[in-house]
Symmetry: C2
Subunit: 120 residues, 2 copies
DNA sequence: TAGATAGTTGAGCAAACATTCAACTGATGG
DNA sequence: CCATCAGTTGAATGTTTGCTCAACTATCTA
């Protein structure tokens, strides 16, 4: 996502609107963090993982069975979620147990589900 | 995302947990809709567009100037958001004005911003 | 100690995706 | 009618990304 400082190819039509909106825009970094967060929720496998973990603490094999996927595939996605502190893990014997690590994720879910049920 | 009915490569370790979670899991379609919704918010350009439109109704050229991008690029993203009924358009003369078409988007934003400010 | 099971990890690959470029439509004004 | 400006659209391109496969670590148990 390395952005150049390229200019747009058209003129401002309503200078006051542009000026006003520009004044209120948060930094690019803020938007990138926000987009990154939503992108993590923007995959059906990860959404299903989070939904499952929202109900129960689960180990990788059980998750794989619930999702009908390979351990590897699930583990890759869990690693991604872990790196971004959306889930956390706990080791116990041979197993690794995962749980949600973020209250906001649950709230985002609720709003998202509301959106879905409203539109489709 | 055409998923096969392939099996996972490991055994169930806690049958009761798996059974219980499986019982509560919504359909794959529901998760795909949900993921699709989040994926639409999972891009910094689109997030910036939505943030701008949350403040003011804007035409494509003004948006392009606010975002420092080409009309084409902005228009492509607006088309995507329009197809998914997240923004709507209104024609007036040569210009096309866009606004948000979904209350839930705003609420999702709030939760997302909360998440960001909490973690970083 | 050897074998089996739980889980992780990196490389490879195909599909999805964001931006660019160029050609196009359509409305305005001289 | 012609030139210009706002906006859209499709093809091309380079990047991102999700899954697979195979190799690996670690823990338990016979």
């Amino acid at each position: 996502m390395g952005k150049n400082e390229y200019l747009c190819d058209c003129n401002v039509i309503h200078p006051k609107v542009v000026e006003q909106v520009l004044k209120n825009m948060p930094s690019s970094t803020t938007f990138e963090h926000l987009a990154k967060f939503y992108k993590l929720l923007g995959d059906s496998t990860r959404v299903r993982i989070l939904f499952a973990l929202d109900q129960e603490e689960m180990c990788v094999c059980d998750l794989a069975n619930v999702l009908h996927m390979t351990k590897s595939s699930v583990s890759h996605q869990l690693a991604l979620l872990r790196e971004n502190r959306i889930v956390k893990m706990r080791k116990s014997g041979k197993e690794v147990y995962y749980t949600l690590d973020d209250d906001h994720v649950v709230k985002t879910f609720e709003v998202g589900l509301l959106h879905i049920s409203h539109k489709d």
